[in-house]
């Protein structure tokens, strides 16, 4: 299964959602922001090397941390030299080796977002309860439809009880999972561990677990056919 995490707007917490979903789903998280990377990095070959043909996709997967990751790379020279369309093959190769892949798509609506959605079987849309974020979420939603990545769930990040969950569910057409605005989420991400490890039994950890369940159900449903 390949799951894309998209959002349209930057800063809504896509990477956090991708990382925590990766932890719950036991998936490899691929940081597909080709022009910039923001998942916790380590040393070794990265996605830029893979897309430039300098490393095999599986060889660039880092298994040392709590979540297996394929980081993007940090130098602009590396970003410049890569061939973006190779992302599709790279992600599929990782899927074949590891079974499950979560693709952390960049902000915006550029080609790398589209490539992440193209290769994905399904997607999770991350948004925040602000008008700008919701507008971008609608556009990302349209792109996901175009590229055949079924929307599994909407994540309303940093949501509060007053958030218009129902309206968002209706507009975006998928169940909404609210990840509460809780510092444990940011702290866990900064420490490079999933929320479920750093702060189990918190509402935030529960939200990610629910989200992972939705994805599991969707992947089972699609597997039945």
């Amino acid at each position: 299964m390949i799951l894309a995490v998209v959002g349209g707007k930057g800063g809504v917490g896509k990477s956090t959602v991708a990382y925590n979903l990766g932890a719950h789903l036991d998936a490899v998280v691929v940081d597909a922001d080709l022009a910039m990377a923001d998942l916790p990095g380590a040393r070794g070959p990265d996605l830029h090397d893979v897309l430039a043909g300098r490393a095999a996709p599986v060889e660039a997967v880092r298994e040392g941390g709590p979540v297996a990751m394929l980081p993007c790379g940090r130098s602009l020279v590396g970003a410049r030299a890569c061939e973006p369309t190779a992302l599709v093959d790279a992600v599929e190769t990782v899927r074949d080796a590891y079974g499950r892949v979560v693709v952390d798509c960049p902000a915006g609506m550029s080609g790398d977002v589209g490539l992440g959605l193209l290769v994905a079987d399904a997607c999770v849309l991350v948004t925040a309860p602000t008008p700008e974020a919701l507008g971008d979420a609608l556009r990302a939603r349209a792109l996901a439809r175009e590229l055949d990545a079924g929307l599994v769930a909407v994540v309303l990040n940093r949501g509060t009880d007053e958030a218009p969950t129902e309206t968002i569910a209706n507009r975006l057409g998928a169940p909404v999972t609210v990840v509460p605005d809780d510092p444990v989420v940011a702290n866990a991400q900064a420490a490079g561990v999933p929320v479920a490890t750093a702060a189990p039994d918190t509402p935030a950890a529960g939200a990610f677990a629910d989200l992972a369940d939705s994805v599991e159900r969707a992947s089972v449903a699609s597997g039945r056919r």
Partner: protein, 376 residues
């Protein structure tokens, strides 16, 4: 004869219903919900998607086109969730798929009463649906009724959404004389590229940092410098052959000339810069253990950057060629100057590469058979 299959799935207080209709001949069917609740059909732009009206879905099924529909309802699931309430033979001309799909697509209207024929949009609709309705929440259904386009390819995606690779202007090629800054940056980068497990810090790290500094500065900068400052040096040969030769040279250096082992491939590319560092690098890299692999990859950053430059030149030339072919317009003088700069730069790089390949070969022979004086 029409067969209706279904799946139901309850999520978050909502029941998702997927319907699959197959038939042995072309039939027009109408399917109604039997669950105890309102039907939430998939919507396009806020309007019920093609094929839907009130609580019913209508579409044409063909032997080779399964008809697929999906909807949501707050009602509890039950069997059957829906029933075929009408089933008539369909005109052979009628495209399979949701009724009205074509009308919606072409006219942007929601007049689903008239199904215009022709086109295989219905085929596209049904074909993609099977995948799309997977967990697609409440909006399951014939969403984008694209014409019978094949699956989009990665190239399609990049074409329509834009190349996400950072523009060349954004990548700082260090100026040749500006040594200190460039080296510092490159050293940092190289340190981060070395695997943490690598204990032999002093020995192996130094050569690659040297090398990538050289590479960043020598290869891409030389041409730019040449293009800017060297107006009075017309190269004798054609521009394209210069580029081609260069390309071939780069590959030869890393592949063809290196039948023995992976490790020396990276080293070879740049051996010309300094014989000392080259041979020490050769020794450092030679043991094909796990730790040396990432470093080899990092060394190949250089051809990557050069490749990006060649790609830019290639695109510039291709755009001009296209324009000339299409409009018969000669490019303006600014562009011609740019092309001339490209040509000079390529020719210079070609010369330089040739020299370096020669030196690299010599050094390599020396390193492999120290006693044999390059007899190999």
């Amino acid at each position: 004869m029409v067969t209706l299959d279904w799946e139901t799935d309850r999520t978050d207080g909502v029941t998702l219903v997927r319907l699959y209709v197959t038939a042995e001949d072309r039939r027009r069917v109408r399917i109604e919900n039997r669950l105890d609740g309102p039907v939430w059909p998939p919507r396009e732009e806020g309007q019920p998607a093609a094929g839907w009206d009130d609580d019913a879905f209508e579409g044409v099924v063909a032997p080779d086109h399964r008809l697929v529909a999906g909807y949501a309802t707050p009602a509890q699931p039950a069997d059957p969730p829906a029933e075929v309430v009408a089933d008539d033979p369909a005109d052979a001309e009628t495209a399979p798929g949701p009724v009205g799909a074509e009308a919606v697509q072409a006219g942007g209207t929601t007049d689903r009463a008239t199904a215009t024929d022709g086109g295989s949009s219905g085929g596209g609709g049904t074909g993609t649906l099977g995948r799309r309705d997977n967990g697609d929440g409440r909006a399951t259904g014939p969403e984008t009724v694209e014409s019978a386009d094949d699956e989009p390819t990665p190239a399609d995606v990049v074409r329509s959404l834009g190349d996400p690779v950072v523009p060349r202007e954004a990548v700082p090629f260090p100026d040749a004389p500006d040594d200190a800054e460039g080296r510092e940056a490159d050293v940092r980068e190289d340190e981060s590229a070395v695997t943490p497990s690598d204990e032999r810090h002093d020995e192996p790290v130094a050569p690659p940092s040297d090398e990538s500094t050289d590479a960043h500065e020598e290869e891409p900068v030389d041409p730019f410098e040449g293009g800017a400052g060297d107006e009075s040096e017309p190269p004798s040969s054609g521009d394209t052959s210069g580029g081609g030769e260069f390309d071939a040279g780069a590959h030869d250096g890393s592949v063809a000339e290196d039948p023995v082992e992976d490790g020396s491939g990276g080293a070879e590319d740049d051996t010309g810069e300094s014989d000392d560092s080259a041979s020490s690098r050769e020794r450092a890299v030679s043991p094909p253990d796990g730790a040396s692999a990432p470093r080899t990859d990092a060394q190949l950053v250089v051809p990557g950057a050069v490749r990006a430059w060649l790609r830019d030149v290639d695109r510039r030339l291709a755009a001009l060629e296209r324009r000339r072919a299409a409009e018969g317009v000669e490019p303006d003088s600014t562009v011609q100057i740019a092309v001339a700069g490209d040509r000079r730069a390529l020719a210079r790089v070609a010369d330089r590469v040739e020299t370096l390949v020669g030196r690299a070969e010599a050094v390599e022979r020396e390193a492999r058979d120290p006693g044999n004086d390059g007899g190999r």
